[in-house]
Amino acid sequence: MSFRLNPLKQTATRPRLGVRVDAARNPALAALLKAVEVDYVEIDARSAGAPAETVSASALLARALGLPLVVAMAELDRETFGPYLDGGAGGLHLPAVASVMAAEAVVAATRYGPLGSRSTFEPGPQNDYADDPQDLGWLNRNLYVGVELSTVLAPVEIAAIAALDGIDAISPSDDGETGEAWLSGLSKVAAIAAGAGKLAFARVTRLDDIEPALRAGATMITFSDEATVLHDGFARAVTFCQDRLRERVFA
């Protein structure tokens, strides 16, 4: 049986661009995102709009398309993110890791033994319904896990987290800011990640934020979300239409 390789686990020669999906409502969105050739999709389960069953359907389609699907979680506990992993997510972004011990707990919860203690059952979306017994070591290596770091962490702790086997990427905490302080934090985190041979991920909402984030060393950039893209695209058209109407009235 050939497994579906997770592109996020392959060595990259350049940074990756992903997009955020606020509400996993229609798995067909994965096909659209594949068509526009983004490198990955991040489904935001931090709000109420991402039921695990729909995310799983999206994840299965994304896996078949070779599009990595990462789920951003609101909590660190394995009971919350476990169903997303077993539903076929190619990776997780986990929030607010405030200590090396917390990062070790992430590894334990997301990786099968002997690296961790993730529970297993039967073949399913997590291994594309393939072999039984499952090759747990291979599944470990094929899963991507990134963690957001609490601002309380010292550089030495960040370095220890980045060095952990089972942590693929780190990021400064996501408080919705993309100003100078955030960029400075990203720059420090990205340098430590690069030193450990790991990825540095960042979320931006505006086109103008892409270049500064890349300059700060981000190797994975998640751009905006579908609701914002829709809103901005249509708002531009509405404003343009109203301007043309005013011109018509005054002509």
Binding site: L17, V38, L214, F223, E226, V229, G233, F234, C241
Partner: protein, 246 residues
């Protein structure tokens, strides 16, 4: 239960309604998003997307709650599709493949007999073939047909220009025919726009209803824009690196 119909009262005095097709994101959040962006309506499409009628009915009620118009293009213009849509609470119908006045009359009769209040029903007849355009004046004159629209892709197939460099030019005269037939009959007319230039063009020609792009087209454009910026930054960095090494 029927929902209120802004298309029967939202026009006039030079006003233009602008909306979009929702082809993928059939949910309440999308309605709220496009309403916030300033759109007047959305159109759902059962002819070319697999959206279930119960979802359409739910979204029609939600759209009505937030003051957003909702049109439905049913699978076809046959009475059974129209009656099912009306029963689901949709009273604004965008009917595909209307070929002649008889088809329009059958559609209007089906809609009015199924509706609680016939005066709340709004019918758009889509003209999508040369035969339909030959009958445009008669279709427009049918009482109960409120609006005319064009299906440019199917029309281009009928003409034989679909996918060719001459497609747009071959369809253009039919758009003007549509406008003339609607104005002569005192009916509304609607035009699809695929660029800001299209909007400028049709606003300039007095079109009262514009359907701009689709949800999926806007997503594709938005993400491609982000990707273009991303690639441009990477290319600039590569050039700088190269220059540094030189």
């Amino acid at each position: 239960m029927s929902v209120a119909n802004p298309f029967l009262s939202g026009l006039g005095a030079g006003r233009v309604l602008i909306g979009t097709w929702v082809m993928m994101l059939h949910d309440r959040q999308t309605l709220a998003t496009v309403k916030r962006a300033g759109l007047d309506f959305v159109r759902l499409d059962m002819e070319h997307t697999p959206v279930p009628l119960r979802v359409v009915g739910d979204l029609a009620r939600r759209a009505s709650d937030i003051g957003l118009g909702l049109w439905l293009r049913p699978t076809g213009a046959q009475p059974r599709f129209i009656e099912a849509a009306i029963r689901a609470g949709i009273n604004t119908l965008y009917l595909p493949q209307i070929e002649d006045a008889a088809a329009a009359e059958r559609a209007v009769a089906a809609a009015r007999s199924a509706a609680d209040r016939a005066e709340d029903v709004h019918i758009t007849a889509m003209l999508e073939s040369r035969r339909a355009f030959a009958n445009a004046a008669e279709i427009a004159a049918v009482p109960g047909v409120d609006c005319l629209a064009i299906g440019p892709a199917d029309l281009a197939q009928d003409i034989g220009t679909y996918g060719t460099p001459g497609e747009a030019a071959s369809v253009e005269p039919y758009k003007l025919l549509l406008r003339a037939a609607a104005l002569q009959a005192g009916k509304q007319w609607e035009m699809g726009t695929w660029s800001l230039g299209d909007i400028a063009s049709w606003v300039g020609r007095g079109c009262p209803i514009l359907t701009h792009l689709t949800d999926t087209a806007v997503l594709r454009q938005g993400y491609r824009e982000a990707q273009a910026v991303f690639e441009a930054v990477l290319a600039r960095r590569a050039q700088l690196t190269e220059a540094g090494h030189a």
